[in-house]
């Protein structure tokens, strides 16, 4: 163990500065096919699209970040912003004001309070009053205090049922729509085949702690950059509940969200199955509040991963039938199964197996070489993401050295969640009320 630590620290020492050169040498001199496969596949699937996107951006920026057309106000379609929340008194005021003042005039806000125990409704009414000068429902703000707790999906359905816009934006109560974002958000709908557009989710509280800074980098790479590329390849697998804009006709036709966890993931799958395209807009920025403590982050990520397993593997398992919902959907299904579940698990097992092969931590050079390669890949994507989307912020760049450890830790958490979900350990989540949970089917 001491030998491993000594070796690891020695290659991290900037004065000696032979970590990366040694990693490259190790990589080039290696004769293991699995080693080469790992490096090359990750480069092809992760780095190459990023580099190609960057090159396109250099040549023709409008293809990546399309400019806003000059349109008269009359042409602006009505957008209903639906917010569902429970005990969100700390953030709901800012959320409603942000939506009303986002620079888009033809907009209404519907807040559905899921039987909060705090003064969310009063704060929401005050926020509405500060903008619309009316404490009651108006043509711009409607507030529905639910008399009973129904869960997020049902609360969103109330809001969707009340919405009268041509487009419905779903956002969390702790998220804020950036000024000027709505126009960018609507741009992809110029293509009539696009059914929903994911927003560019950015971290609102990134300066609070080291954990939130690391999440800011992660959001920049995964939620901004990766989703942009996925959308271009028609492989976007989620329109996040933190910021998603939908054609209202789709949501109305589907009858809203299904109850249970993973509403955004589920809705995305249902829309894909109807052969709608999903878009992503870099310019549509929605700022969200991320967990500050490790406990809350672990809970959030476990919930997310369990939802993916439940929704993608169980409820929508018919997507694995090639051709049933189109080629892209089948590719996406295989990608989700392989890249999100099997490969991370195999990677984790591989790392531990190689590390412990000749006794505990006696072969650290493989781990260290991996570390430097991952770091190189990360740096390339962070620079390109920064160039294209303005995130992550430069002040967080030095934390890049911690990102591999952060992601490794999250992988452990997520794989644990996958195992729990497959074995249905602790399936009931407190986010879903008991009377709803008892009624919903298990797919």
């Amino acid at each position: 163990m001491n030998g491993f630590l000594h070796y690891f620290l020695s290659v991290l020492d900037p004065m000696r500065n032979h970590g990366f050169s040694r990693a490259v040498t190790d990589m080039l001199s290696s004769e293991l096919p699995s080693w080469w496969l790992t490096i090359v596949l990750s480069f092809v699937f992760v780095e190459l699209p990023a580099i190609v996107t960057w090159l396109v951006y250099l040549v023709k920026p409008a293809l990546i970040r399309p400019p806003l057309p000059v349109r008269p106000d009359q042409a602006e379609p009505l957008v209903s912003v639906v917010i569902a929340g429970r005990n969100e008194s700390a953030t709901i005021g800012k959320c409603i004001r942000g939506a009303l003042l986002c620079g888009y005039s033809n907009l209404e806000v519907i807040f559905v309070d899921d039987n909060s125990e705090d003064d969310s409704v009063a704060i929401a009414r005050r926020a509405a009053l500060s903008v619309t000068r009316s404490g009651r429902d108006s043509d711009r703000v409607r507030i529905f205090p639910s008399p009973r707790r129904n869960g997020k999906a049902s609360s969103l359905n109330i809001g969707i049922r009340m919405a009268r816009g041509e487009f419905i934006a779903i956002t969390d109560a702790d998220s804020v729509i950036q000024y000027g974002s709505m126009q960018h958000w609507l741009l992809p709908f110029a293509d009539p085949r696009v059914g929903a557009v994911a927003a560019n989710i950015r971290v609102n509280n990134s300066t609070v702690s080291l954990l939130t800074r690391l999440q800011e980098i992660e959001y920049g790479l995964k939620f901004t950059f990766a989703r942009f590329i996925q959308a271009r390849l028609n492989l976007l697998n989620i329109v996040s509940g933190m910021g998603g804009l939908f054609r209202a006709e789709i949501l109305h036709r589907l009858g809203g969200f299904d109850t249970g966890l993973g509403d955004d993931n589920d809705m995305t799958m249902m829309i894909r199955k109807q052969r709608w395209k999903l878009g992503f807009s870099i310019g549509a920025v929605v700022w969200t509040t991320v967990p500050v403590t490790r406990y809350h982050l672990v809970r959030q990520r476990m919930r997310w991963r369990r939802n993916i397993v439940k929704i993608q593997l169980s409820k929508h398992r018919d997507r694995f039938v090639l051709g049933r919902y189109g080629f892209a959907d089948a590719v996406l299904a295989v990608y989700m199964l392989g890249a999100r579940m099997l490969m991370p698990m195999a990677g984790l097992i591989g790392i531990f197996w190689v590390t412990f092969e000749n006794g505990p931590l006696e072969a650290p050079q493989i781990v260290v070489t991996f570390y430097w390669i991952v770091l190189l890949y990360l740096l390339i994507r962070m620079l390109i993401s920064r160039e294209l989307a303005g995130t992550p912020t430069p002040v967080n760049f030095p934390l890049m050295f911690l990102i591999p450890f952060y992601l490794l830790w999250l992988k452990v958490v997520q794989e644990y969640a996958v195992i729990c979900e497959l074995l249905r350990i602790g399936a009931k989540h407190p986010y879903v009320p008991d009377h709803i949970w008892e009624e919903i089917p298990w797919w």
Binding site: S134, G135, R136, D137, S138, D139, R142, I143, F144, P145, S146, P147, R148, N150, G151, A153, S154, N157, I158, I160, R161, M162, R164, G255, G256, F257, D258, T259, H435, I436, E438, E439, I440, P441
Partner: protein
Amino acid sequence: MREIIPRAAESNATTAAAGTGTAAEERRLNLLRHIALAGGKIAPDAEPNAEHGYAYGALGDDVERDLGILARRNYLEARFFDRVSLCPKCDSHHLNVREVCPGCRRAHLANDGLLHHFRCGYVGIPSEFSPAADGSYLCPKCNGRLHHLGTEYDRLGKAFVCRGCGLISENPPVEAVCFSCGARTPAEDLISTLVFSYVLTSRGAAAIRRGSLLDGDDELVSVAAAPVYRRKVILEFLDHEMKRLQHFNSKFSVLLVNCAASAMDQSGDASLTQWLTRLRQGLREVDLIGQLADSLCVVILPQTKQREAEALRQRIVAELGPQSPITLSTVEITEPRHLAQVLAGLNARGEPS
């Protein structure tokens, strides 16, 4: 109250014979008598043709104004009876007040409520759920049957559905349409006016007994609602203090209290009363305070020298603070001519002596 009436009638005859009351005062006195005859209380009756929808019987046109004046002068006690909303354009109370759709502003709303199916999460108005043969409902989303309220589905509180545009609203805006001028006004912009019932006070009863309103200087000891003697009373005390000075050489001082007219105009009598009450609290029990004119009071400080009076003045000024509209000045009275000079000075300022 029964005792009052014959006395009131008697005193009325006396006063009328003397010819001392003005027409308005006589009218108000008659109003007090009418209230006394009605049992000491008068309450408004709904009257659609009245200006504000309420009328106080057949008491005349100026009755509301007179009642207000009498209540301000403590002959009557005003008690809240109702609040009437008026059109801000024409002051009419003929209003049609109702909820309107926040979208299309039409009043064609139905309080249908929303149904929520637990199994699939569908939310819709009841008419969307088609009834089944067994008395249950079918969910339009999942075709599941809704048998039991509370376990399979639920009603989501109050929700108004617009029959015109279909918009659903939980707390729709309230709007009034004026039947007189046709103006549409949001409820929060309507003019509100309070309607009171009135109860005869002991002071009102005393006025009836005497046959005149009791506002003359010689009828009351204190200014209404303030711990201050009326002018006639304080002049009597001054006269008495002068006699003590002449007989016992008991020198005294007076504190002249000037109230800023601008402050009085802005904050009204209630504010001035509060300041005078605070001033009274700062004085000794043996000190006497009375009103010489509307904006002038005098404090008699028995057996007090100029130096002590000045110390008292400074203490009171400090207690009242810089916001006070009151200015104080001291004068020691050691000879009768000193007081004569003070009163002459007041005459020069136009104040009655």
